[in-house]
């Protein structure tokens, strides 16, 4: 989240779209209801009417997979009705910059598309720069090539008629939402958006979120109380997992994973260090090398020296142009290319798309190590219904792990608040924390390397590897301190103007990432976490201070919010260029005298109006402004509506390009797709519920299973009537990839859509179920139905829009 959970109560209008917040983020919903108590409008846009809709002011149903059309229509409405926060748009975004003459968009494709490679050459996706290298700006926003006018031109096609026909949303409902949300463009009003997997689980997921970011920039809602883009992260501490880089393509703190062609530290740093010649741009990523070097020091300690590039060559590299998402990994597994698989706290046989392909892929492994609290469909894939164990050669190790309450450590919530947890109970039997399991495994690997040698021994034997406590178990505090960082030697820094000396002793924890160095004098496992301990070694993640001096719910003494305890990021944009808060009733920041008062400001520099020392607000961007034109995405600088991989239409109503042109298409024999196919006429989505956790290890918990015992398909009354299906009856639901049997839940909460003149029915199914438990459970994993395809930027699978057929069982 750019903001945080408690801040939701400060909003004037909350759009919940791409989220079923009341069901999947029930505690967070408390704050949304507090906003409602204050008179805020709460809007729920979702294919289904859910428990969230029941508590919102109103529900707007839309066809799954059409969010960009909906949001594009909102962008057009905001521009046409002049609802933008004008000063904010002019000075704090790139709206005023001039798009290069070569940039173009025709019939669904941007300039530079290579159809064979399914990728873009982005060299035309640039803006004009002056001779100093600073973007040229037209603050009148009249230049037809300025970003604002190019934005207007791009969304000109997203008329109410077109958007209604694509999404199935009535024009009345479109206008209702656009008007209500657009009103937050007033400088003293704030609107916020809550999204989760309803937005990320699409082939255009990242662009859906980009579309909302554009809206928030147009309305001046970024960096203000009650505003922002609030991603509600997942149950398995997804926020913590991405912060600490449990993803193939990033290093801790969202640093980039290097590819093989970046074979020296200098090349790597050069590629990713942001450059700017604008004195008013803070360009914070110019400090990138400090974070890289400090990270390498954290990995290899004293073995990492300036002479060996701080061990950069020991860091694993990705092959250029190759990706290793779960979709790629499963594809490689199915092709027999993967020998061994560590499945930590995961159950891909239930939670990954195209379960048939996944489960057949697992059969080709030589070994699997499954670390979990319970057995599951992945660990026991070899004895699933229909599998003959005699024909499976995989050796499976099931290691019992301790649950989150059975170990100490930090958890990062969606609001970037990192809170330390103590151990509440001892794990049962031989169960151990993942940390201990990993540590003992690596100890054994290192011992083998010492005895037998082996390829690439340096990174393994040179590792800094002293994270154990006196009992030989993983010590989370030691690891947390390593992640925070420390001085590797005594470091005295003298301020030349004042003569003041800053004395730092070897071993002291660094109090801020602003202290990190490129010369190896600091070590830091994750630059965002620098400051989670103070220099005396006190763990700020343990703080539980209930003071709230601003009254805005910031609670600066509770836990540690990265970065640097900043509670709302981009907060400089909450003030005008003179440093006066846009909303005097909610002073997130104010420039008083010679400093910022309120939240931890995005840098101490004066506001923009100070021509000498003032800085632009979006300090993480090279040009210092929010990106309306966003060339960083793989499929285009402006979000464009494309249909899901498998949808009801043969033609995209908005252009000649049916699908996202940059998505990876997998081609195994199990990757069948049935687009606009009469045999699979219904749009289906999948989701979770309050009662179950992801792939369903909660099925082992009797009180939870009692409430939600088995899989069901939610099907609207009209479709049920057409098919002669009664509520509670057993039915079969199938896609071209596979089918399941489950209970029909006939409901008023799903209504058919009128899309391009045809009636299209929407259905949905929870994904939490599988054959392993409870006894007698059917193999009703919803992911038998879903396709192996994902977002073009992140490869997050398209779980939420595909086509099915339904019949009586």
């Amino acid at each position: 989240m750019t903001n945080h959970y408690i801040d939701l109560k400060n909003s004037d209008c909350i759009l919940i779209m791409g989220s079923n917040a009341a069901e999947n983020h029930p505690i967070a919903f408390k704050w949304i209801l507090r906003a409602k108590d204050r008179g805020a409008k709460i809007i729920h846009v979702d294919p289904r009417y859910t428990r969230t809709s029941a508590r919102c002011d109103y529900h707007v149903p839309l066809r799954s997979g059409t969010d960009i059309a909906f949001l594009g229509g909102m962008i057009k409405y905001i521009i046409d009705n002049n609802l933008i926060q004008e000063e904010y748009v002019k000075y704090y975004t790139n709206a005023s910059q001039i798009v290069s003459a070569d940039y173009d968009f025709q019939d669904g494709l941007f300039a530079g598309f290579d159809a064979e490679k399914r990728s873009y050459n982005k060299k035309t996706w640039t803006v004009e720069k002056d001779d100093k290298g600073i973007p040229v700006r037209d603050y009148t926003l009249e230049n037809p090539r300025c970003v604002y006018r190019m934005l207007q031109k791009h969304y000109d096609r997203y008329t109410l008629e077109k958007v209604s026909s694509i999404t199935g949303v009535s024009k009345d409902n479109l206008l209702k939402v656009y008007k209500e949300y657009g009103a937050t463009g007033a400088p003293d009003k704030a609107g916020t958006e809550c999204y989760a997997l309803g937005w990320t689980h699409h082939t255009t997921g990242s662009q859906i979120i980009r579309a909302m970011s554009i809206i928030q920039l147009l309305l001046g809602n970024m960096g203000v109380c009650g505003g922002g883009i609030n991603a509600l992260r997942g149950e398995p501490n997804v926020q913590g997992s991405t912060d600490h880089a449990i993803l193939y393509n990033i290093l801790p703190g969202y640093l980039k994973m290097p590819t093989g062609s970046l074979d020296t530290l200098a090349k790597y740093n050069d590629k990713y260090t942001s450059k700017s010649t604008d004195p008013q741009s803070a360009n914070w990523y110019q400090n990138y090398p400090k974070y890289t070097v400090s990270f390498l020091k954290a990995m290899w300690g004293d073995e990492a020296t300036a002479e060996n590039d701080f061990g950069y060559s020991w860091l694993p590299k990705m092959d250029d142009g190759k990706h290793h998402s779960i979709l790629h990994t499963i594809d490689a597994m199915y092709a027999g290319k993967i020998k061994g698989f560590f499945a930590y706290g995961s159950n891909i046989a239930v939670s990954s798309p195209n379960s048939t392909k996944v489960r057949k892929g697992l059969q080709k492994l030589k070994w699997m190590v499954n670390v979990n609290l319970f057995d599951n469909e992945t660990a026991s894939f070899w004895k699933a219904p229909g599998v003959d164990p005699k024909l499976v050669d995989t050796e499976v190790f099931l290691l019992p792990a301790s649950a989150s309450v059975e170990k100490a450590g930090s958890q990062s919530n969606s609001g970037r608040w990192v809170q330390w947890r103590h151990r509440a109970a001892n794990p049962p039997g031989e169960a151990m924390s993942d940390g201990t399991i990993t540590m003992l495994l690596m100890d054994a690997i290192r011992a083998l390397y010492r005895e037998e040698g082996g390829a690439c021994w340096e990174p393994i034997l040179n590792l800094k590897w002293d994270y154990r406590n006196s009992l030989g178990r993983f010590d989370p505090v030691k690891a947390a301190k390593q992640i925070n960082g420390h001085y590797t030697k005594d470091l005295v820094i003298e301020d030349k103007t004042t003569g003041a000396k800053e004395v730092n002793r070897k071993g002291e924890t660094v109090p801020s990432f602003a202290k990190l160095m490129t010369d190896g004098s600091t070590s830091c496992g994750n630059w965002l976490m620098a400051g989670s301990f103070d220099q005396k070694g006190e763990n700020k993640m343990m703080k539980r201070g209930k003071e709230d001096p601003t009254g805005l719910g910031l609670y600066p003494e509770w836990g540690y919010a990265w970065p640097l305890n900043r509670r709302i990021i981009y907060n400089r944009a909450s003030c005008d260029p003179q440093g006066r808060p846009y909303n005097p009733k909610m002073k997130l920041l104010e420039w008083v005298g010679d400093k910022w008062v309120g939240d931890v400001a995005d840098g101490p520099w004066p506001p923009l109006a100070d021509k000498e020392k003032g800085k632009l607000p979006f300090i993480m961007k090279a040009d210092g402004v929010g990106a309306i034109f966003g060339p960083g995405m793989v499929e285009g600088p402006f979000p464009e509506h494309y249909e899901p991989l498998e949808g009801p239409l043969a033609k995209n109503p908005l252009s000649g390009q049916l699908l996202n042109p940059a998505i990876k298409i997998f081609k195994s024999d199990l990757d069948k797709v049935a687009n606009a196919d009469q045999q699979y006429p219904y749009v289906c989505t999948t989701y979770s519920c309050t009662e179950h956790w992801c792939s369903g290890f909660t099925r082992w918990q009797p009180w939870l299973l009692e409430m939600m015992p088995e899989a069901y398909l939610e099907i609207g009354e009209k479709l049920a009537e057409k098919l002669g299906i009664k509520n509670g009856e057993r039915i079969k639901v199938a896609s071209v990839r596979g089918g399941v049997e489950c209970v029909a839940m006939v409901t008023k909460r799903l209504k058919p859509f009128e899309v391009e003149g045809k009636v299209i029915h929407q259905v949905g199914m929870p994904f939490n179920y599988g054959w392993r438990f409870p006894e007698g459970a059917t193999d009703a994993s919803a992911n038998y139905l879903t396709p192996s395809v994902g977002d073009a930027n992140t490869f997050c699978p398209e779980y939420k829009a595909f086509m099915v057929n339904i019949s009586k069982a």
């Binding site: 029930p26 919903f29 809709s53 029941a54 309050t690 009180w703 299973l705 839940m745």
Partner: protein, 265 residues
């Protein structure tokens, strides 16, 4: 009763997360049963001997054709004029100092009179133990100055507990703020319940929620008239017999009775 408490259930804040349904089971160590999905999120389908609170899910189309999903936390209403306590022959069901109806399970003889009597269908019988069970408003927690487990678990503040007057005041203020068809339910019958609802919709819209709950007539007749009358009559018979004994003495055998048989010759 100065400690009289009311648990307020504000349905306008309920998201049907069912934290309360699970918290109740956890605190009271009630087992789960194996259920089936019969086409609803509601499970188990009704209150049971081992399910003392249940979130009811109800799809409703209002006058304008808008779909609404209504959630209601069902469970014991803890009536002041409680039919169950009235009819219980062993006083297993009794009122506490907080106004709730608590249950001393050891005294329950499984007669099921309360099951018949309750206008809300709350007490549930377990054939295996021959006893009834129901919510006791977490009486032992109240004695320890803790809120009931359900109230503790609720993330949105839909469940609150506090002194009677203050909670009724809150309820009426909330109903006023909500407007529309909202109403307070509970304070106007059975001499007032200690579980009070803020209902966003009209009472008749809700499944399983009686509009005018009252103790069944038979029980009133039995308890208020027949039983006292019967006791009175029984008492009079005993008193009469006693008086007769004191005044006329015990019944003695007749004096004409001979000791020999009649046919002597």
């Amino acid at each position: 009763m100065s400690q009289e408490l009311i648990k307020l259930i504000d349905l306008s804040r309920c998201t049907a997360c069912r934290g309360c349904q699970v918290a109740c089971k956890q605190w009271n160590e009630l087992p789960a049963t194996r259920t089936k999905n019969t086409g609803s999120y509601q499970n188990p389908p009704d209150l049971q001997w081992n399910t003392w609170t249940l979130i009811r899910f109800q799809e409703h189309e209002d006058r304008s054709g808008n779909v609404k999903w209504l959630f209601r936390k069902d469970g014991c209403m803890h009536c002041t004029d409680a039919a169950c306590a009235k009819v219980c022959p062993t006083e297993a069901l009794y009122h506490t100092e907080f106004g709730n109806v608590s249950l001393n399970v050891d005294k329950c003889i499984g007669c099921k009179a309360c099951v018949f009597a309750c206008p809300f269908g709350v007490p549930k019988f377990n054939a295996a133990t021959n006893k009834i069970y129901k919510c006791d408003l977490c009486y032992t927690r109240l004695q320890g100055n803790q809120p009931p487990a359900c109230v503790q678990s609720c993330p949105t503040g839909a469940l609150q507990i506090g002194p009677k007057a203050a909670m009724l005041d809150k309820a009426y203020k909330r109903v006023k703020a909500l407007g529309g068809d909202a109403s307070v339910y509970g304070d106007k019958f059975v001499d007032g319940t200690h579980v009070v609802y803020v209902l966003p919709e009209k009472v008749e819209v809700y499944d399983h929620l009686p509009k005018h709950p009252q103790i069944p007539l038979q029980i009133i007749v039995w308890k208020e008239f027949l039983k006292p009358a019967g006791l009175l009559v029984a008492g009079a018979v005993v008193a009469g017999a006693f008086l007769h004994y004191i005044t006329h003495g015990p019944k003695m055998p007749e004096e004409e009775t001979t000791s020999e048989g009649g046919n002597k010759s």
